[in-house]
Structures are given as structure tokens and as C-alpha cells.
């Protein structure tokens, strides 16, 4: 796919829109009529051409505008990037993974030339050209993790593995669903999952951690997570709650299909080679209910999932105020047809 990069906004006038191609490749997360937490981790292997799983890092039509929105957020709050000193090895590991993947997967947009530790990097869509020495941070305009993190859609957290658990010891986080990097930095696996309802009782966390501690080099994994966001806003951080929290009270029966977006996170985890750290990628896709309903199968499925969602999950995801409007609006599409297993749009 060669996307035509759009000029659009994720704040203010919210001019963000999805093209029909983008709607069709949306990673719709519900394969069944009921939703429950599970260790839904699968190998992050190459998916179908054009799908969001085609490459290690997905670049789509929103790439340039999303990177611009990230710069605004970082300028307003530099604390959205943080890295503890012992993560420098992991920073370079991640830069290498991202640059080699992008240059290999999107040769029209990115190029990387390596001659020993002398690296030349070109990012055509963002107009970036740099020559630097791999391993020498003084040769880049900023720390390597922030440098490459600003050139990727999505948020990234570097996890250090020690004491039989994972610590979130570095991150560049500007498009998060109501969690704070400043609050979570340095926390362990169990600490940052503390607020999630039900998962402890289900044993999901222990099993997922056990799996990730053994995550193998060259065998990345992925899972989907989801919530809902009012307006196509990337930065729904607790720090900026005053800018978006109140929007939830503005939803009504007339505007629900335009205002409410299904927010899907494609979460990926890669083992990093020299540091033995893990990079956790959270790539966010926003799709209005109206766009989702262009595929009746999705509208029916989404209706059934929302209708049967446990109250504590609705509360945890911050959807309580407007959730009835969502169910009402989606109900018009649901004729009760048997849908069968799978997330496909048709």
C-alpha cells in the first residue's frame, strides 16, 4: 500500500478522517459476540498485503499528521518521553529494529545506509536526513529512543527484564488511553496492571508475564486491546483530562455516530538483542461508529459485544455516561443474524 499522507488534526477542529481503504483495513477486535479478557497473544508474523499486520511497524495515511501531533504533545509536556539511564542499550536496540524494519518494508519512504557504525538515515515523508554514529548519542539531536519514537505512529515503552518481572523503564507516550507514563515509569508488570478489573482473578496476568519473560529474539508477538474515545483524539492522557474528559458529556442520540470512536490498540512486543529488554508498542487506530457501520457485520458484532459488556469494564474504560447511546444507535443494524467466528468486515 502506498498511502497518500493526509494533512489533518487530532485536536481543535478534529479534521481526522478515514478513507474507505483505511476503514476496510481497520483492526476490528471482536471475533465473537461476547468480550472477555484472555491471553490473546499471537505471533506477530507477516500478515496479508495491505493489512495492518503486513509489516513489523504499520505506516498508514495518517503517518505525517500523527507524527506532527506527537511533536505538539511533547513540546507541551516533555515528560511524555522518559528513559532511565540503564536503558541506553535498549534505546539503540530499538532504533536499530525500527530503522531496519522501516527501510526494508517501505523503501519508497525510508532509507538506511550502514557502513560499520556510521549510519545514514533518511525519512522522506517527514523530511529528515541524518548521519550519525550508532552507539554514540552525541551524534543525534536527541536520545536515540526519542529520535526514532518521534518518527513512528504509536507509543513505545522499553521494558527491562529483571527479578523475574518486567519494568517499564523508558517510554515515549503521547497517544495513550488514559494512563500516565510519568506515573507508570519504573513500575513492574503487576504494579502497572493493578487497576485492570478481573485480570488478577483470572490468572491472565501471571500467564502472560510467564510467556513474555521467555519472549524469543526474532519471534515478536501481538494482541489487540480496545476502548472508546470521544472525537478522534490521540492524546487522552490523565495529564490533559480537562481537554477531553468533559467531551463525554456532550454525546447524545444525534451525534453519537460521529463523536464516538472505537479506539483499537495493536500492541506488539519484540525482544531486543543486546540489552535483552522488550519493546512494547501500542499503535492506536481510531474509527467512528459511522465508519464502522459501513460494514453491517461489524455494526452487528459491535452492538452485541457492547450490550453484553460487564458494568465494571464499562466503568474501567470510562464509557459509563455515553454507553447507552452507543448501544441504541448500533441496535438499528442488528437483525439478529448468526455471524460466525471472526473479525472480518464482510
Amino acid at each position: 500500500m502506498k498511502p497518500n499522507f493526509k494533512q489533518e488534526s487530532f485536536r481543535g477542529d478534529y479534521s481526522y478522517k478515514n478513507s474507505p481503504v483505511a476503514v476496510k483495513r481497520f483492526p476490528f477486535p471482536f471475533s465473537e459476540d461476547n468480550y472477555m479478557y484472555s491471553v490473546n497473544i499471537e505471533p506477530h508474523t507477516k500478515g496479508k498485503p495491505g493489512s495492518v499486520y503486513e509489516f513489523a511497524f504499520d505506516i498508514d495515511e495518517h503517518y505525517v499528521s500523527e507524527c506532527m501531533d506527537k511533536i505538539i504533545t511533547l513540546e507541551e509536556d516533555p515528560g511524555r518521553y522518559t528513559a532511565l539511564p540503564h536503558m541506553m542499550g535498549a534505546q539503540w536496540d530499538f532504533l536499530e529494529l525500527a530503522m531496519t524494519s522501516l527501510a526494508n518494508d517501505y523503501p519508497d519512504y525510508f532509507s538506511l545506509k550502514r557502513s560499520g557504525s556510521k549510519w545514514s538515515w533518511e525519512n522522506k515523508p517527514l523530511g529528515i536526513v541524518d548521519v550519525f554514529t550508532f552507539g554514540d548519542k552525541s551524534t543525534l539531536p536527541m536520545e536515540p529512543f526519542e529520535y526514532i519514537g518521534r518518527q513512528l505512529q504509536g507509543d513505545y515503552v522499553l521494558l527491562d527484564q529483571r527479578d523475574e518481572t518486567l519494568y517499564a523503564d523508558a517510554g515515549i507516550v503521547t497517544s495513550q488511553a488514559d494512563w500516565s507514563l510519568a506515573f507508570n515509569a519504573g513500575m513492574s508488570w503487576k504494579e502497572w496492571h493493578g487497576p485492570v478489573p478481573k485480570v488478577t482473578e483470572l490468572g491472565v496476568l501471571d500467564r502472560a508475564l510467564k510467556y513474555l519473560l521467555n519472549l524469543q529474539l526474532g519471534s515478536p508477538v501481538r494482541r489487540l486491546n480496545w476502548t472508546m474515545t470521544i472525537n478522534p483524539r490521540l492524546d487522552t492522557s490523565p495529564e490533559n483530562y480537562p481537554h477531553w474528559g468533559g467531551d463525554r458529556t456532550k454525546v447524545n442520540a444525534e451525534n453519537v455516530a460521529d463523536l464516538v470512536n472505537l479506539r483499537v490498540e495493536l500492541q506488539t512486543l519484540f525482544r531486543l538483542p543486546r540489552s535483552n529488554a522488550i519493546v512494547f508498542g501500542i499503535r492506536c487506530y481510531l474509527m467512528s461508529l459511522k465508519d464502522i457501520a459501513t460494514f453491517p457485520r461489524w455494526a452487528k458484532r459491535l452492538h452485541r459485544v457492547q450490550k453484553t459488556l460487564p458494568t465494571d469494564l464499562i466503568e474501567y474504560k470510562g464509557m459509563t455516561i455515553y454507553h447507552p447511546f452507543v448501544i441504541d444507535w448500533l441496535s438499528q443494524f442488528d437483525d439478529g443474524e448468526e455471524l460466525g467466528f471472526g473479525t472480518q468486515p464482510e
Binding site: R162, N214, P273, R274, N276
Partner: protein, 317 residues
């Protein structure tokens, strides 16, 4: 399980019992970078069976033109190390897994005490490269039978200088663990790899002296022990597999054509864990992964190293 196709580029007899193997990528490209303490599992296609043994990568993680492993010939083993010594030749193609690290350095350690016994020196060979790159404080304590059996002493002296301390049993040298571990600054981490009695001694000494559990690290791969032959029934696959005495259950299941998950094959990582559906109580747990209560319940088993003396074993596979 993602694997690498490699070619044996060199074999060197380092001591009477240890051979050093050099692998390069079959297609000539660089091998993946790795971290100090990592191992690979080497697949050995012997007549009628496949051995898969884990070996620590010894080279510098910064140099990925080649991987280096050392293999000590174990006379009373199932045959993997003997195969490496007698059947592997220069130029041969082999399959190895991508590196996995179950014995990583703690990046927050203020000082690192590395204790090696015999062939247990191998994971430290790559770790000292990382420690030197990090500019970290460390000491390497290397105990062995006699200098003729001590691989890499010269290389280590060159790399570690005063940080290397050697103990030759034949000369009556003794490593006083109590003295070593009672005089370390706060924030020191200790790492041990060697024969089981040495590992136990280090763990017990450190714990007795009040070292925090998170500052004590050991690499304790178990070679699958030889035992009595037995039969195992695999419920999902609907087959019965004969496990000969000198073969592990995992190997026998693979030989029967199944491809169960695995990673370390030494009872450490937990990846090959299987649920026990039925058994008559004879399970011998040889792994370091399951908790004591899990072992006692006999509802889980690690087929890479564990066996049964019972007559009846049904697994959920």
C-alpha cells in the same frame, strides 16, 4: 521456534575434554546480536534421533560474524556431547535456535561477582564483554580441577586482568565463599554457573548471609537424566509414545512426529510445560521451574527433563 541455519567454521580442542565450535551464518550474513549470558539450542541429527542441547554463547555480543560455543564431552550422557565431539566436522550445516537469555546481568547492579566451576565458565565469557562495555565493576572467580582442564585461562587473564581469580583443585586452591560473599558492598549481584554442589553452596551461602533473592543469579540447566524406559499417552494426539531410558520425554515425543513447544530444554524456562491428565504417582520432577507445591500436585510436568517410574501417564497434548 525461530531457528538459524549455520555452518561449522572451526573446531578447536581446547582441553582434553573440551572442544570449541565456531558457527557462521550459512548465507554469509551477520548473525543476530545477543546479550551476555545467552544460549542457543543446537540440533544434532544423529542416526535415528535428534539431540537438542543448549550451549552458552561465549563470544563478544558485539561481534556477530560468528557464534562460539564450547562443549565438554560427558561420558555418561545420552550422547549429545559425544556427538558434538565425534561426529561434527568443519563445513557441516547445523540448525540452532535464536539466542535466548535466561541468565542475564542485572543492569542496576553496582558490582558483579561471577563464580564459575569448570565448563560453567562459558556464559561468563560473553557477560564479561558486556560488563566491560558497561564499565561495570566485576570479579570473576573461576574454579577448576587443574590448569590442563581450565579452558580459556589465558584469554580470560588478558581480558580481565586483576579481576580474574583462579582456583585449581589440584593445587589445593579453595574459594572461600563465606569470605567472598560477606565482604561485598551493598548493591552487589552474584552469578554462579557450574556443577550442582557449587551452585547450591553459593545460593546457600548468599542466603545465609542475607543477600536479597533478587541479587542472586544462577544458571542451572539440567541435562535430561538417563532413567528407566516408560510409556506416555498423549490424549489430544491419541497416540502412545515409548520413552527409552537414554531419551528425554520431549525427544521421544518429537521423534513420534509431534512438535511441542520448547525453549531451553534444561528445565529452566517453563515453555514446554504440559498438563498431566492421569498418573499413578511415579512422576520424577527434575526441573527448576515448577514450585514445590506444583511438583507435589503432579498436575504439571516439564517433558524436557522429567520422567516417570510409574506405569500410567496421560498428558494433555
Amino acid at each position: 521456534m525461530s531457528t538459524l541455519n549455520v555452518k561449522v567454521a572451526a573446531i578447536e580442542q581446547v582441553t582434553p575434554l573440551i572442544k570449541h565450535f565456531t558457527f557462521v551464518n550459512e548465507d554469509g550474513s551477520l548473525l543476530p546480536a545477543f546479550s551476555g549470558g545467552s544460549h542457543v539450542v543446537v540440533a544434532m541429527e544423529a542416526e535415528g534421533r535428534t539431540y537438542r542441547n543448549a550451549y552458552s554463547l561465549m563470544g563478544s555480543p558485539a561481534e556477530t560474524e560468528a557464534y562460539h560455543i564450547s562443549v565438554r564431552k560427558q561420558e555418561n550422557s545420552r550422547g549429545g556431547s559425544v556427538f558434538m565431539h565425534e561426529n561434527v566436522t568443519v563445513g557441516m550445516s547445523m540448525k540452532i535456535t535464536q539466542p535466548v537469555n535466561l541468565f542475564a546481568l542485572s543492569k542496576l547492579g553496582h558490582k558483579h561477582i561471577l563464580i564459575a566451576g569448570g565448563i560453567g565458565i562459558t556464559p561468563f565469557m560473553s557477560q564479561i564483554e558486556d560488563l566491560k562495555m558497561m564499565g561495570a565493576r566485576f570479579e570473576l572467580h573461576y574454579a577448576f580441577r587443574a590448569y590442563q582442564h581450565a579452558a580459556f585461562v589465558n584469554e580470560l587473564t588478558e581480558k580481565c586482568g586483576d579481576s580474574l581469580h583462579c582456583y585449581a583443585d589440584s593445587q589445593g586452591d579453595r574459594l572461600d565463599l563465606n569470605e567472598l560473599l560477606s565482604s561485598q558492598p551493598l548493591g552487589t549481584h552474584v552469578y554462579v554457573c557450574g556443577p550442582a554442589p557449587m551452585v547450591v553452596a553459593v545460593l546457600e551461602t548468599a542466603r545465609t548471609l542475607g543477600w536479597p533473592e533478587s541479587s542472586i543469579h544462577n544458571e542451572e540447566f539440567t541435562s535430561p537424566p538417563v532413567g528407566l524406559p516408560f510409556k506416555v499417552q498423549l490424549a489430544k494426539s491419541g497416540i502412545e509414545v515409548n520413552v527409552p531410558g537414554e531419551m528425554s520425554m520431549l525427544e521421544a515425543i518429537e521423534a513420534a512426529g509431534l512438535q511441542p513447544e520448547y525453549l531451553c530444554r534444561g528445565g529452566v524456562c517453563g515453555r514446554c510445560e504440559l498438563n498431566v491428565l492421569e498418573n499413578d504417582g511415579g512422576i520424577e520432577h527434575n526441573d527448576h521451574f515448577l514450585s514445590e507445591s506444583e511438583k507435589a500436585s503432579c498436575r504439571k510436568i516439564m517433558p524436557c527433563v522429567s520422567r516417570t517410574k510409574g506405569k500410567h501417564l496421560v498428558l494433555d497434548l
